[in-house]
């Protein structure tokens, strides 16, 4: 059972790390602000999500698991709304300029 949990953790966390890699590459390589924003949200949602998912089997108790999920939810919520706000800011910036 332990081995199963651990290999799940390794798998999920590695996948999460790959999304962080992708997010960084996107942020560095994409040509304009809006597509860079797109890359960022992928890292935000999936990278952190997979890491949290991978860590859940390692959690020592229900409270820790709850906190892990809260962290992810918070990042989701903040990420989603902030992305909207930044996107609007970028658009406004383009219009004004």
């Amino acid at each position: 059972m332990r081995v199963l949990f651990d290999s799940f953790t390794v798998l999920a966390v590695s996948a999460g790390a790959v999304f962080f890699l992708a997010g960084t590459v996107g942020l560095l390589r994409f040509p304009d602000s809006l597509s860079r924003l797109h890359a960022l949200t992928k890292a935000d949602n999936l990278g952190l999500g997979l890491v949290v998912l991978g860590l859940l089997p390692q959690a020592t108790g229900p409270l820790v698991a709850l906190k892990l999920i809260t962290v992810w939810l918070l990042a989701q919520l903040a990420g989603a709304i902030v992305t909207q706000l930044v996107a609007r800011a970028v658009r406004r910036e383009n219009q004004e300029a």
């Binding site: 918070l74 919520l77 903040a78 902030v82 706000l85 609007r88």
Partner: protein, 315 residues
């Protein structure tokens, strides 16, 4: 080299690199963005140094609230940047400053490399008295008992800073409401965020305060989180910024230090004098003080960010 060692080396280099960027950045705003990252990295470093209490404080105050404050300032001051570019200090000052900085850094680095051995520590002494205080988090014990007077005086420092910020208002606005980012244009998303985030944040803040007696956390960290949530609500326009003459506001601001001082004075009737706690009530008293301190800290930090009154007092 273990993975942890690689991580530490990378983190330390990263911290220094971001610091170089903050000093060298072309625009103040870019430097402030760097500063937010700097705070985050420092929080990680504190976690690596096994100081999670400090990591929490750094995450909440050092990076979060300070970052927001500086960001506002940088954007308001942007028009002045091009103008002051002309008055860069001369090469001489640069050289002197560089020599001085290198000297201090080198001296410190040398001292770091020759540590005292065995390293002195008060950890055993602090541990001995933890059972009598019935507080399991040693940092909380230091802040609330062993070195309580520092914490108390620091509360007074916070109050003075707030008075100082308020004192910068024009006379006619005294008693009115702070301006708090007058540019903010509440729109749908912001309002949504301000409705969804604070309930979670307040729970987290209270949790951090409550857990402070047994694990890392406490009044400062909890207070800073609550302050950020309060600010968010005010920025989104869901609640007005309070006028500073309000009696309830003044009471919230001082209730923490006032209770702390009262308990301190009550200590005169005990064998150990000022700021000592009666043995059987130690834990409840510390918790009561922490709760009221959290309230006051949240209010003070929030108002420090909100700035001086900028609107006339409503009759």
């Amino acid at each position: 080299m273990t993975a942890a060692m690689v991580l530490d080396v990378g983190l330390a280099l990263l911290v220094v690199a971001v610091a170089v960027w903050i000093v060298a950045a072309g625009s103040a705003f870019a430097a402030v963005v760097g500063f937010v990252s700097f705070g985050l990295l420092l929080a990680l470093a504190w976690a690596r140094l096994a100081a999670v209490d400090v990591a929490l404080t750094e995450a909440a105050i050092g990076s979060g609230v300070t970052g927001a404050l500086l960001m506002t300032a940088a954007s308001r001051l942007r028009p002045t940047e091009s103008r002051s570019a002309g008055e860069r200090p001369g090469a001489f000052l640069h050289v002197v400053a560089a020599v001085l900085a290198v000297l201090v850094s080198a001296g410190l680095a040398a001292l770091v490399l020759i540590p005292a051995s065995p390293a002195p520590s008060l950890a055993p002494a602090a541990a001995v008295h933890l059972p009598e205080l019935d507080v399991l988090n040693p940092v909380t014990a230091v802040l609330m008992a062993y070195r309580a007077v520092d914490t108390l005086l620091e509360k007074i420092v916070l109050l003075l800073a707030l008075i100082g910020v308020w004192s910068l208002a024009p006379d006619r606005f005294w008693g009115g409401a702070p301006g708090l980012w007058p540019r903010s244009r509440p729109d749908g998303e912001l309002t949504l965020l301000a409705r969804l985030l604070p309930p979670i944040g307040i729970v987290v803040g209270i949790y951090i305060l409550w857990v402070g007696a047994i694990a890392p956390g406490g009044a400062f960290q909890g207070g800073a989180i609550l302050a950020a949530m309060w600010l968010l609500i005010m920025i989104a326009g869901l609640r007005p910024v309070p006028e500073i003459h309000r009696q309830w506001l003044r009471l919230v601001l001082v209730v923490g230090p006032a209770v702390f001082l009262t308990v301190g004075f009550a200590g005169f009737f005990l064998p150990n004098g000022f700021l000592s706690y009666p043995a059987q009530f130690t834990k409840p008293l510390i918790i009561v003080i922490e709760v009221v301190l959290t309230l006051s800290i949240a209010a003070i930090l929030g108002l420090l960010v909100a700035g001086p009154p900028e609107r006339e007092r409503q009759r």
